[in-house]
Symmetry: D2
Subunit: 157 residues, 4 copies
């Protein structure tokens, strides 16, 4: 997982989390390992996080497109990180746990493409956060979208 | 991926698909490879397919529970196979492509447990199919649920 | 809104809420008024509430079936009441507020029919509750389903 | 239901549908009657339709905010009309029937306010269309969102 210098400078908490994920990469066999080397934060704005994802064969199904479960995985991860771009009262320290994730599949994206994910932080409340993600192929066509609801676990700190 | 002899006998199309997934296992690096060795069809009934999934560390997040993206992946796969248990007019030959997948995360399931997935085929229409899946931990507690809508691609045959 | 004597006896809190809704009926112009006279609780079991709904023309769209917004409305109301059938630690006193409602429309139900709603209480946690509802036509065919997530507001008491 | 002159000029099909809904208003008792007098199309752009909705007591629940079922109803109606702003190959003649509607409730909107709905047409395919709607209160705060999937019924013409 990578992050541009500019985004890292604006949101140090994002860079820390990227480092944590990247360091784990060498030794662990967690679920995220199948996607995080191909993920890069390319822009970070107030309440908005932009990622690129390089699609490889290992992310795909037998039809040659990203597997539905992989789409859900990257939307889960990318939208969770986006919580750290929240600007307003009561931002969270941790990125919480999922309560709901709903993905719509509109068009496939094949191996070899680099797709773009835009995560909009819609709300970060005391208990729940909502992030909406749209995923575009290289031609800028909207191919997938995802609504993610997360539950705050900062009290476990 | 495995299937009990009894289920295979009742639904030959299911056994064929299991064989296809299992043979691919050796040579390929598809997305399903991270879960399919741990999946087993334990019962197949009209409009209902029951699976077991052995949770390993590679399926989990840093909190030690199945990663949200992995939950989505197994619900996607298991509910798709369930289409082949449909009894009624107009069953599909292929298991289609996803249009929508919505997962609710109610409680975590940790590595080491064997969880149980029950997939209910709610409708198989000319164009769309709906399958509802519930995932239980070893104590029979409902931990995840998923609503999956699939689009028929039999015409591509 | 009505409730059978047996269900009222088993769950007094349900009967109270039904009375509250029914008394409001005369004087108010709330949203629920368009559906609650046609709703009846026909059975109440641990973690499960069964309703009947008499479909009239005023609930329908121009195609003659229940309007999608009406389906959402009755699933919202019926599944909320179901929280009061929860048996386990930490039941709620109030039925909370909605955070998410996802409805699938599989087949239409026309005016004149009496449909049946089955609400399964899947989880009632400290903060969130999940209720899954299936709606059947008079022939017992599954026509709609809904996943409802509610947020506890007992602390406002 | 109203439409600005400018929007009507740009999209005659929208104006026709608005007229149809408004003429029905006098004689009928359809579900839409509880909301359509308070709905106005204020802008129509390629793949985007903007509405205003005047919240009255009859749209609200006992807590004084728009009822969840009413939110679902207006998102259903407004996003369906938006299909007629689609620009691209293969636009639909009719606005189809719902297959899925998922609403997130982030914050309440009370009676007396005029809220704003923005409907983004994400895809209009041969069979399915996806429209994403965001609902804002008078201060521009995002309060509700909705993902709507519709199924084409033009072949019934």
């Amino acid at each position: 997982m990578k992050i541009t210098a500019e985004a890292a400078k604006k949101y140090p908490a994002l860079e820390e989390l990227v480092s944590l994920y990247s360091s784990r990469q060498q030794k662990s066999v967690f679920w995220e390992d199948k996607v995080h080397a191909e993920l890069e934060i390319v822009d970070a704005l107030p309440n908005k996080l932009i990622w690129e994802f390089k699609v490889e064969e290992k992310h795909c199904n037998q039809l040659g497109n990203i597997h539905g479960g992989c789409v859900a995985t990257i939307i889960d991860i990318c939208s969770s990180f986006a919580i750290l771009t929240y600007e307003g009262k009561g931002g969270w320290s941790l990125i919480g746990v999922s309560t709901d994730l709903a993905v719509s599949y509109m068009s496939g994206i094949a191996a070899g493409q680099t797709c773009r994910l835009e995560c909009d932080v819609q709300r970060v409340g005391k208990t729940l956060a909502n992030i909406y993600t749209t995923v575009y192929n290289e031609d800028g066509k909207l191919c997938y979208s995802g609504s993610h609801t997360k539950y705050c676990i900062d009290s476990r700190l």
